[in-house]
């Protein structure tokens, strides 16, 4: 494969590109969905192809094809160059490109059981049985899904990189939906849309769906008759998976250097962060320590090299509440004057690599969830995301959760439905006053992060434990 890649790269360079790199991917996926004890979807797919990019002046040119013939590879390199060159009609300053070590290496995701070698019958049965149990327990619509990805990726650059990686990802989840009089309520496990990690079938086995079906079915029905979440300003305690999404939306996207530089302005938006405030801006309370770590074993965004050949690394993003780092690639880092962070990835061979969150997580604190609840006089504990919305500067957000519990005088006293909360990013994080410890720190994964044009879906990780936020506006309704 490296020989094939170098044919395309040589073609781009001989055409006039300043730099070129290319990837060949063999991407396999298996997707299974079940509903009410029956399989709703079972599909396996495989795609093989090449993506090559060329840097000319101020623009990247990128071409992708399924055709790996020698003639096509030469043509692809030329096209990448020509596409970039056409950008000169509306050109800017020449794009700089930071150096990284040139390596020849390979990596495979550590895993116990390759999910593609496990019988699909076993995987289907797991979902069918789980959803059948919830249906029998009164769920109006029980559903479950499993997704597996096996990606073999060969990467070469005009600087001499030759890297092979085999990334294996597994995930899924189950949920119970109950339909009442003009409303629906849902409970999901391990989190809404499922939980995803790097690893094999053992990831799914660790979830133990069977131990959670009864709770999900009962809670989704109980929510139908539960009172509405109260409105007001009070303490908010977030369960880990909801906090993970809070990190994703209000920190992870805001620290993407391509957004800060305006490259995503028309679609995903920009950021409230400005580079001259790096190492000065207060992002949150002193309990807030965020790192982007692509080396965490088992987390969803763990790899050895990104799609520019930069080594995976641990980068400090927020230290004791002060903003200290960004998510960067070789071009954006060179512009901003920071070290390339190894955070550029593409959604398959047919997409241009772009800045992507790695495992952007909140380091654990010292409390337990029990202690957080015991020390809360008046608040709501919220679990599992149901809706999320944030502005294009990543400041003004509103989240809804599946279930809430009223906390009074240190005790959970009542389940409430339709819990929502809203806030402004630095104020919200500034109000974090208690954070659960490493016993409750989970490597949550988000498999559906949309960004870029053409649209790309990214897989990101967000280690988090539960936390408390003072004086939060809760219970916003339409």
């Amino acid at each position: 494969m490296f020989d094939l890649l170098n044919i395309a790269i040589d073609s781009a360079i001989s055409s006039g590109a300043k730099y070129s790199d290319a990837r060949i991917l063999v991407s396999k996926s298996r997707n299974i969905a079940a509903k009410n004890g029956e399989v709703e979807n079972f599909n396996e797919s495989e795609k093989i192809g090449l993506g090559i990019r060329a840097l000319v002046g101020s623009s990247w040119g990128f071409y992708s094809t399924y055709d790996l013939s020698r003639e096509s590879l030469i043509s692809s390199g030329k096209k990448a160059f020509e596409i970039a060159k056409a950008s000169a009609v509306v050109s800017g300053k020449e794009t700089p490109f930071a150096d990284v070590p040139v390596v020849q290496d390979e990596y495979t995701t550590p895993h116990e059981e390759n999910p593609f070698k496990v019988s699909s019958t076993e995987q289907i049965d797991l979902l069918v049985n789980s959803t059948e149990q919830m249906k029998k327990l009164g769920s109006s619509r029980s559903s479950g899904r499993l997704d597996f990805w096996d990606t073999e990726k060969w990467f070469c650059s005009s600087q001499g990189h030759e890297i092979f990686q085999n990334i294996i990802e597994s995930g899924g989840g189950i949920s119970s939906l109950s339909v009442g009089d003009g409303e629906t309520q849902i409970r999901s496990y391990p989190q809404s849309f499922g939980e995803y990690r790097t690893g094999g079938w053992e990831v799914i086995k660790s979830f133990e769906f069977g131990k959670h079906t009864q709770r999900l079915a009962e809670e989704s029905q109980r929510l139908l008759v539960a009172p509405q979440c109260p409105e007001g300003v009070m303490d908010l305690i977030l369960e880990g998976s909801q906090l993970a999404l809070q990190i994703h939306e209000s920190v992870g996207h805001a620290i993407e250097l391509d957004r800060i530089l305006g490259w995503e302005a028309a679609y995903a938006g920009t950021s409230h962060l400005e580079l001259d405030k790096l190492n000065k801006h207060r992002y949150g309370s002193e309990l807030m320590n965020i790192v982007a770590d692509a080396t965490l074993p088992g987390a969803l965004a763990t790899f050895k090299y990104d799609d520019e050949g930069t080594p995976a690394q641990r980068v400090e993003i927020v230290k004791e509440g002060i903003w200290t780092g960004v998510l960067s690639g070789r071009d954006s880092a060179a512009i901003a004057g920071v070290k390339p962070g190894g955070m550029v990835r593409a959604d398959g061979f047919s997409r241009l690599p772009m800045v992507r969150m790695t495992n952007v997580g909140l380091l654990p604190g010292e409390s337990s969830l029990e202690e957080i609840i015991e020390s809360t006089d008046n608040g709501i504990y919220m679990e599992t995301n149901r809706s999320w919305s944030i502005d294009d500067l990543r400041l003004n957000f509103q989240f809804g959760c599946e279930a809430g519990w009223v906390v009074k005088n240190g005790k959970i006293i009542d389940m409430v439905k339709n819990p929502t909360y809203t806030g402004i990013t630095p104020e919200f994080w500034g109000n974090m006053d208690m954070l659960a410890n490493e016993n409750e720190w989970v490597f949550w994964g988000t498999p559906n992060c949309g960004k870029g044009q053409p649209s790309q879906i990214g897989h990101t990780g967000h280690p988090a434990s539960p936390a408390r936020f003072k004086n939060t506006r809760i219970g916003v309704r339409g």
């Binding site: 029956e38 192809g49 305006g262 490259w263 919305s389 509103q398 339409g478």
Partner: protein, 441 residues
Amino acid sequence: MNIWKEVLGDLQKQIPNSVECELKMMHSKSALTRFANSHIHQNVDEESADVFLTIHKDGKTISRSKNITGIKSSKEFVKEALDSIDESPKDTTWAGLTSKSESYEGFQELHEANPEERANLVRDFVKEGEGMNAAGYCSTYLNNFFIWNTNGLNSSDTSSSAFIDGIFRTDTSAGSSHRGAVNINNLDASQTGKEAAKLAVDSQNPIDIDPGKYEVILGHEAVSTILVFLSVYGLNAKSKIDGMSPILLNENQFDEKINLIDTPEDSESIGFKIDASGAKKYNLEIIKNGVPSTYFHTRRTSKELNMENTHHEFFGVDDYFGGIGTNLNLDKGNVNHSDMISSVKKGIYINEFWYCRVLDPITQVVTGLNRNGSFLIENGKITKPIGRLRFTQSFIKSLSPGNVISVGDKSRYADSEFGEGMLKVPKLHLKEFNFTGGVSG
């Protein structure tokens, strides 16, 4: 015969007579020229050819997809599926294959646009906002779809589309606009740029206003977002089956000024004239004078609900997502923009919504924000630009009887939360819209 039919022909030969089988191929050439900070920074071009195989045998169904490089041999690809079908569970909602009589021959040899054409449109857009920061894209698509099944169906179609979309930013504001067409030559990038530039200039130094219930005039993109949510979450028959649809057929659920038609047969409509099952699509009334008359159906949903199939099966994913309307046309009214504004005593103009998410599917309460051009209207005039507002509003109620004051007299393709090229809409003047938060939360 083109090369793609030859590929499908090779695969067909491997299908035994004892099974029901559907073979589909999507061949696409797509390109997108992206600009930011007023220059082109990313320029991409892609060619793909994906094959989708579905086999149904003894009550069981199996689906496999590969791109053509992934298919080592036709025989092996089909054999892998046949060998695995026994592991599949019973498929109780199988609704059969499209009949031979539905065959449609729409394939055309069309030429793709080149990067220079896209760059020229970007240049035309950018120059309309001299001194401002421009960002956006110009994209072109050329798709060929082929489908064969063991009922003898042979359908094909070709679709092309092109879009220009962008914003201008100042230090305190932004303005956006969007256009879509079947052919890149029909895009007016200068006009699109003019509109975006004017909104950006007029939006500078916005004031904050208190949240609350306001009369609103919604621009094309904002209207498009409301309708695409109703389409995907409400009119989709799968939502009805799952108990999640808010749509009530044959009831006066919406204002009588709301008339929604699906228009795949129109020459200006973007997309295929057939659905993913290979059946010809027809123009169809969805909501007439505020009364919904049908859901969007696939083979499976029409069987399960015992309703007529409207042929809205989505491409590439079987019918897991149910039926999606992709040529929606909200009927124009007769009120122009100026008259809409002059009829408002106190209200808000919103160009575009952003990051909308459903809080509850049945009530279609959605939260989201405004962006790229919002203004306070007082005594019939736009008086001040306004900043960020968060709404939490039922999209069903927003179009309910009595809440639609007027419908704009101009319609165009508008971008939406679920993509472009699916909706042609005018502006809407609504009596009440609920804003629950402002700049300070």
